[in-house]
């Protein structure tokens, strides 16, 4: 994966680049919006990480300019402006995801992986992950041909996991995607829902498909 990091704070940029490097992600760095725009037109990136407050061209203008010139590379906004309204404005401007500083590196990487994958995969009417088979039209899930009795929300969680099979999905990502909540409940609410889902998907089967990734979130894997 090759990404562009548009961030005016050199220290943050270096530490993010170092963190990405540890996960095998290569990155270029642009210190301001105008430079980032030029780089995007010359080179092709898998994802752009864009800071909102930058000299010369701020993050939102950069995204608008990119979209207007036909560059559809997924964009993740990285910002210290964490209010819900800022998030909404960012997403309206054409960003694909929004992460608030300070953030955990794992959270950033999980989101990058999902963004890249989303950009590659098309619409699918069925999702498969090992013994799991999800019929997206009937909103029905089977494991080894046995229909799982899932609530609509549980099906949504499961399909989100399967869409990103092999990738870690963080709790905040689940909150945003499944529950449309843009705040961090101060309780382990996702864990409770996940343990219910697990009881239906994995209980009584030799292999537990849903795995907890300590301190980060969950992932589904056929192994």
């Amino acid at each position: 994966m090759h990404i562009l990091l548009a961030e005016d704070d050199i220290k943050t940029a270096l530490s993010v680049q170092e963190g990405l490097g540890l996960h095998g992600i290569t990155s270029s760095h642009a210190g301001d919006g105008a430079l980032a725009f030029d780089l995007c037109r010359k080179e092709s990136f898998d994802v752009l990480i864009v800071d909102r407050m930058m000299p010369k061209m701020d993050g939102l203008s950069l995204i608008t300019a990119l979209r207007e010139s036909g560059i559809q590379t997924p964009v993740l906004i990285l910002s210290a402006l964490g209010e819900v309204d800022d998030r909404v404005l960012g997403l309206r401007a054409g960003a694909d995801d929004y992460l608030v500083k300070p953030f955990a590196l794992d959270e950033l990487i999980a989101r990058l992986e999902v963004l890249v994958r989303r950009n590659q995969g098309g619409d699918q009417s069925a999702l498969v992950c090992g013994p799991l088979h999800l019929d997206m039209l009937k909103r029905q899930a089977r494991r080894d041909n046995e229909i799982l009795d899932l609530m609509p929300r549980e099906f949504a969680m499961l399909s989100y996991l399967v869409e990103n099979a092999g990738q870690v999905v963080t709790r905040t990502m689940l909150l945003e995607h499944i529950f449309q909540l843009q705040f961090d409940p101060q309780t382990n609410i996702i864990d409770v829902h996940m343990s219910r889902l697990r009881a239906k998907v994995d209980k009584g089967f030799p292999i537990a498909l849903i795995k907890t990734v300590r301190g980060i979130g969950y992932k589904i894997d056929e192994h």
């Binding site: 449309q180 705040f183 101060q186």
Partner: protein
């Protein structure tokens, strides 16, 4: 005489000038009208008299006319007669001669006005010439002294009136200015004292309930509010210091322990250690972001990004989101939501957070096996109400106000996890949406939180 520089004094002066001007105009108008009227009346009388004498001459002849003039013309103040031949030699009358026409003003061929110098006093005479025949010329006139006296007294009265207006205006200006000065002085005095640091200083409110008293009362209320905010801010800073220092101290202590292990025993730092430290830092960050959200909500700086939010749907969704959490506590959740949509203009994320926080709070502080959580959404003519109530331990009514304040954690809960910003944040969100929120003793025993949105937020469904 510093009153002279005050706005009230100057305003009074301006009014005085305007009033004098209008008084002058009115008096002038009356003067002109009155003198006109007097002249007309005089002219009528002169004309009638002239007509009578002319008739007398025509019917009875010159000698009868002369006798009549002699009879009535003893007093020159009443009517003035002068009968002369065509050479201007007087035949009869109480006027000795007609002054040369140079000292007179003629209005038309017959009417004249001239100055007549009597032995002791001068007079102005106005009258009419009538040619009775080729040989006889008659003048009938009246002394204008009456008119002049009225005019003179008019001018005198006007002068006195102007003097009075000026005296009253200046005196009134000074009185009003002094009065204003006194009352403003009290406000200024209080303001100075407050600037010097005496924040408890308040303005005396008079008894008259006029605009100054209203101003004083409002300023006092403003001062109360400011000092309330200052106190709150002081409390908040102290609480921030306490609530943020505690986890930071804990963090520091843990790092010290780990460091000691590492240096003394060659201990390997484990992922668990680091996760523990990350957890502490996350707590601090959560508290910070809650504080920032509160500050932004309360300052009202940025406008809310609002959309149509169906409260019925939102409450149902949040209830189902939190249902497993409630179940985990062993308590029962009951939900009453109307079937019809109740749509208001609101920020969906903020409302979700507010309602979510209430349910979380109940889970954290109130719910236990065999306890109950009731969530009830209803609407009346004027309001949409959301009631979240539990039958947990509740909080004493005396603490209701404190529970809504920042860091107003009740002492019993200091040991519990949380940052004391949950309820205040909910409160700020609801206020920002134009709603009201109050705590009450729940009918089922514990704490009840009631949120009311005014119905004008409701968007009528077609």
């Amino acid at each position: 005489m510093h009153y002279l520089k005050t706005t009230s004094f100057r305003t009074t002066l301006i009014y005085m000038v305007l009033f004098s001007l209008s008084a002058f105009l009115v008096i002038t108008l009356i003067y002109v009208q009155t003198t006109n009227l007097l002249r007309q009346e005089l002219d009528t009388r002169v004309a009638l008299e002239a007509e009578r004498l002319k008739m007398l001459y025509v019917e009875r002849g010159e000698s009868e006319l002369r006798r009549d003039i002699d009879r009535s013309g003893d007093d020159p103040r009443a009517a003035i007669y002068w009968l002369a031949d065509n050479m201007g030699v007087k035949i009869a009358g109480n006027l000795d001669r007609i002054p040369s026409l140079k000292s007179s003003r003629s209005f038309d061929e017959n009417w004249v006005e001239f100055y007549f110098l009597d032995a002791d006093q001068k007079a102005t005479i106005r009258g009419q010439f009538i040619d009775l025949s080729d040989q006889l010329r008659l003048f009938v006139g009246r002394d204008l002294a009456a008119r002049d006296r009225i005019a003179a007294s008019f001018i005198q009265s006007a002068f006195i009136a102007f003097l009075l207006i000026i005296v009253l205006g200046v005196a009134g200006g000074i009185i009003i200015a002094r009065n204003m000065q006194n009352r403003l002085g009290r406000i200024n005095h209080a303001a100075m004292r407050i600037m010097e640091g005496d924040l408890e200083q308040r303005i005396d409110v008079g008894a008259s309930n006029d605009e100054f008293d209203t101003l004083a009362r409002n300023l006092n209320m403003m001062l109360d509010r400011i000092s309330e905010l200052l106190t709150a801010m002081r409390d908040v800073s102290e609480n921030i210091a306490h609530d943020l220092r505690t986890p930071l101290n804990r963090l520091r202590a843990r790092l010290d322990v780990i460091n000691t292990h590492v240096t003394r025993e060659g201990y390997q730092v484990s992922g668990e250690d680091i996760e523990g430290l990350q957890g502490e830092i996350d707590n601090v960050l959560l508290t910070f972001s809650a504080l920032l959200s509160l500050a932004r909500l309360e300052s009202g700086a940025a406008p809310l990004l609002t959309e149509d939010v169906d409260l019925s749907l939102l409450v149902r969704e949040l209830a189902s989101l939190y249902e497993p959490l409630v179940e985990e506590t062993g308590a029962d959740m009951a939900l009453w939501v109307p079937d019809e949509p109740l749509v208001i203009l609101a920020s969906r994320p903020l409302l979700s957070q507010a309602i979510g926080n209430l349910i979380e709070n109940a889970c954290k502080y109130a719910l236990a096996p065999n306890k109950h959580l009731n969530i009830r959404l209803s609407h009346s003519q004027n309001t949409i109400s959301l009631l979240v109530e539990d039958d947990g331990p509740g909080i004493p009514e005396a603490d209701f106000a404190r529970a809504l304040r920042r860091f107003g954690r009740l002492d019993e809960s200091r040991a519990m996890p949380g940052n004391g910003l949950g309820l205040p944040l909910v409160y700020a969100i609801i206020l920002r949406h134009g709603g009201t929120m109050s705590l009450e003793k729940a009918t089922i025993g514990g704490l009840g939180v009631r949120i009311d949105f005014p119905i004008h937020n409701l968007i009528k469904q077609e």
